[in-house]
């Protein structure tokens, strides 16, 4: 590969194998290898995938607004990545287990995580939002790439127990540079772990273009680790579903890991604290905006005679309800009690911490006494 194979932003522009079943213009492409895996997806099912994507987009914009209004401390938007997240998550079985980064809100939605549970962490009210065993989805990971190893270990365990449960690890293009992700590839390949490595290549790791992390399409790396790599249009929900099903099937049949590179784009900022204007252009944004994952599904459906207007209307209504629920959920998240800082540090009693807790309780009590004595809220 020569530098001329990359465009100005460092994006990789020479996909060898690029799985796409629905073009950005909404045309259905045939693909002998991938079509059979989505043969069951009729127009009604495709409509449901559209519904999922539209609702999570609304969740995302609502949460972004909540952050701007000071209700959330931070929010990492997923906008643009709906097809990658919905297509993969809808390929999972309930007993499969998910290890994600901080951006997979759509995956959490598919796993049945409630609005309040989704927001708890971003509001700064709790260390985690849900019980992983309730949803078969781990608490989201902020340390880049660490979850790839966790997923691999979980998958090894599931295989050693003789089940056909699969595990999926979500991470970004930037994460592929971390040692943890590469070590996960090695463990997974060596142990034939039933894990799917799902990389959302959204072109950027905060301000760094994917070209800084890799000279090759990321999917090609799989070969060197001894597993198949699939490069799929991450804005094509049908292709992503097909690719994920193929990888999950391999995992269940004991054939080991697969790396999927879903080529997509982060339309928003990295987080609400980020200013993407500093590092990317309006042209690039517009170019990717034209590959929107939602629009192409609607176009395809319309071309089959499907009543997309009715669908859009219903979905908009439902998304509105979900957004209202999300907003209302804020009021149900209590501000945590001071003494809970000491909870769950250890699973077993710890005398040192018990003493520290006791001392802090006495410290806080001084304020109450001070207030009672002086009629004021301060200790001194």
């Amino acid at each position: 590969m020569t530098p001329s194979d990359r465009d100005a932003t460092g994006l990789l522009t020479r996909p060898d194998h690029f799985v796409q079943l629905v073009t950005p213009a909404g045309e259905r492409r045939t693909d002998a290898e991938f079509d059979p895996w989505v043969a069951d997806v009729d127009t009604a099912a495709l409509g449901r995938l559209y519904r999922d994507m539209a609702i999570v987009r609304r969740i995302d914009t609502e949460a972004t607004a909540l952050q701007r209004q000071g209700e959330l401390g931070l929010w990492p938007p997923l906008m643009g990545q709906e097809a990658a997240q919905i297509g993969s998550a809808r390929g999972l079985r309930d007993d499969d287990f998910v290890f994600s980064s901080y951006r997979e809100h759509a995956v959490a939605w598919c796993r049945g995580v409630s609005a309040a549970d989704l927001l708890r962490v971003w509001r700064g009210s709790a260390a985690s939002g849900w019980n992983p065993y309730d949803h078969n989805m781990a608490v989201p990971q902020i340390i880049i790439g660490a979850q790839a190893l966790h997923a691999t270990g979980y998958a090894m365990g599931a295989a050693w127990e003789g089940t056909d449960t699969a595990t999926i690890a979500y991470f970004g293009d930037g994460a592929t540079s971390e040692g943890d992700v590469n070590e996960a590839f090695i463990f997974a390949a060596s142990f034939d772990a039933p894990v799917v490595f799902f990389c959302q290549n959204n072109q950027w790791a905060i301000s760094e273009p994917v070209g800084l992390q890799s000279k090759q399409p990321l999917a090609r790396r799989a070969d060197g680790f001894g597993m198949p790599g699939i490069r799929v249009d991450g804005n094509d929900v049908l292709a992503v579903l097909a690719a994920t099903r193929i990888a999950l099937d391999r995992a269940r049949r004991g054939e080991g890991p697969t790396l999927i590179e879903a080529v997509t784009y982060r339309l928003g900022p990295h987080t609400t604290a980020d200013d993407p204007k500093r590092y990317r252009t309006e042209e690039e944004l517009a170019e990717w905006g034209a590959r929107d994952p939602l629009a192409r599904v609607l176009t395809l459906l319309a071309s089959t005679g499907f009543d997309t207007e009715a669908l859009e209307r219903e979905v908009a209504e439902e998304a509105g309800r979900v957004a209202a629920e999300l907003r209302a959920a804020i009021t149900t998240i209590p501000d945590p009690d001071a003494m809970t800082v000491f909870d769950h540090v250890y699973a077993e009693p710890n005398t040192h911490l018990a003493r520290q807790r006791d001392h802090y309780a006495r410290y806080l009590a001084m304020f109450d006494e001070g207030a009672a004595a002086s009629g004021e809220g301060a200790a001194r």
């Binding site: 931070l74 971003w122 709790a126 902020i142 301000s207 001084m366 301060a378 200790a379």
Partner: protein, 336 residues
């Protein structure tokens, strides 16, 4: 004199080091075009080029390990770790390689790395973004650990760290990045106070209060508040956490007879524990009371809405001072 924020003072210090020695290279995630998530390297890539201010792939072990190789080759890498909690993937390279190579090579190889880490809490951030990892590094022989607390020091100390032939962990109090202060950009480094020496941030006679980084300001506020109660606190800005300038701390404790150490990091095995033990050994006969530690709890850093219950604030520091002075305090009546 110019008025700069602490963040801008570091930026100016980096600029001066880059200009004065072409072996100085900056490396890190998002430090180039973006200028770092805190904008501390803002404008430096445009000024010095992509070979001096290097956006690296997203790998802390990679950054630290390649910096080792660059140092072997005679460079002086200045590494930015984006947030305190992200230093650990590079921890092995740092404590097993960077710290030990001078020793292992019997003095032939120099590791003049500077590892800049925005540290500490108080900004309402998500998990892993508010940690105080200093004790891990202070515990590691071969590493120097320093923390700046104000723009003037930040400007000078970053240049001293880069000029040092030893690896320096340079801790930046992220919640004070925006505080302003006077900086003398013309003063020569040679005349400046060495980064290994502590400062008396406020003079006093009743109790010695030692701290560093973001809490220096809180400690000074505490000294002002205590003065209203007729208590005179001497605030020492430790600046260097490893090695510690015991001469300055000892001289103060010999006068006051009382020591309080405050830091955001947990208590167990922390810098405060080290200071309390060392000062007790060195000044036992001068101490009127046992040294007191006011620290974060021994818990993982809590969610944003609870951080005020973790971080020592003015009232908790004053309570610690009361303990050292035997005045009524939160532990009155509690048996040690």
């Amino acid at each position: 004199m110019t008025t700069l924020t602490l963040g801008k003072a570091i930026n100016q210090g980096l600029r001066r080091s880059l200009a004065s020695d072409d072996k100085v290279v900056l490396m890190g995630e998002d430090i180039g075009t973006l200028g770092g998530v805190f904008r501390i390297t803002d404008g430096l890539k445009a000024e010095f080029g992509a070979h001096r201010v290097v956006d690296t792939p997203l790998s802390e072990a990679g950054i630290m390990g390649t910096a080792v190789g660059l140092a072997y080759r005679g460079f002086r890498p200045v590494v930015e770790i984006q947030f305190d909690g992200f230093v650990y993937p590079g921890f092995d390279q740092l404590v097993a390689q960077v710290a030990k190579l001078h020793y292992r090579s019997r003095g032939t190889v120099r590791m003049p790395l500077t590892i800049r880490i925005p540290f500490g809490g108080g900004i309402g951030a998500a998990e892993h973004h508010s940690e105080s990892p200093e004790a891990y590094f202070a515990h590691t022989a071969g590493l120097r650990v320093v923390a700046c607390s104000n723009p003037a020091d930040a400007y000078v100390m970053i240049q001293q760290a880069i000029a040092s032939d030893d690896p320096v962990i340079f801790l930046e109090p992220k919640r004070r990045y925006h505080v302003k202060g006077e900086v003398d950009e013309t003063a020569s480094l040679a005349d400046a106070k060495p980064m290994g020496v502590a400062s008396v941030a406020a003079a006093g006679s009743d109790v010695t209060l030692v701290t560093y980084g973001a809490l220096v300001q809180t400690a000074r506020d505490a000294a002002i508040a205590a003065a209203e109660d007729g208590i005179s606190i001497e605030v020492i800005d430790l600046r260097s956490l490893a090695p510690v300038d015991y001469a300055t701390v000892e001289a103060s404790v010999r006068r006051t007879g009382r020591l309080v150490v405050a830091h955001e990091a947990g208590q167990q095995g922390g810098v405060g524990a080290e200071l309390a033990a060392s000062i007790t050994e060195r000044c036992f006969e001068f101490l009127e009371a046992a040294p007191v530690r006011v620290t974060g709890h021994d818990i993982p850093y809590p969610p944003a809405k609870l951080e005020k219950h973790h971080l020592p604030d003015l009232d908790r520091i004053l309570d610690g001072v009361d303990r050292a002075l035997g005045r009524p305090n939160s532990l009155s009546g509690v048996e040690a």
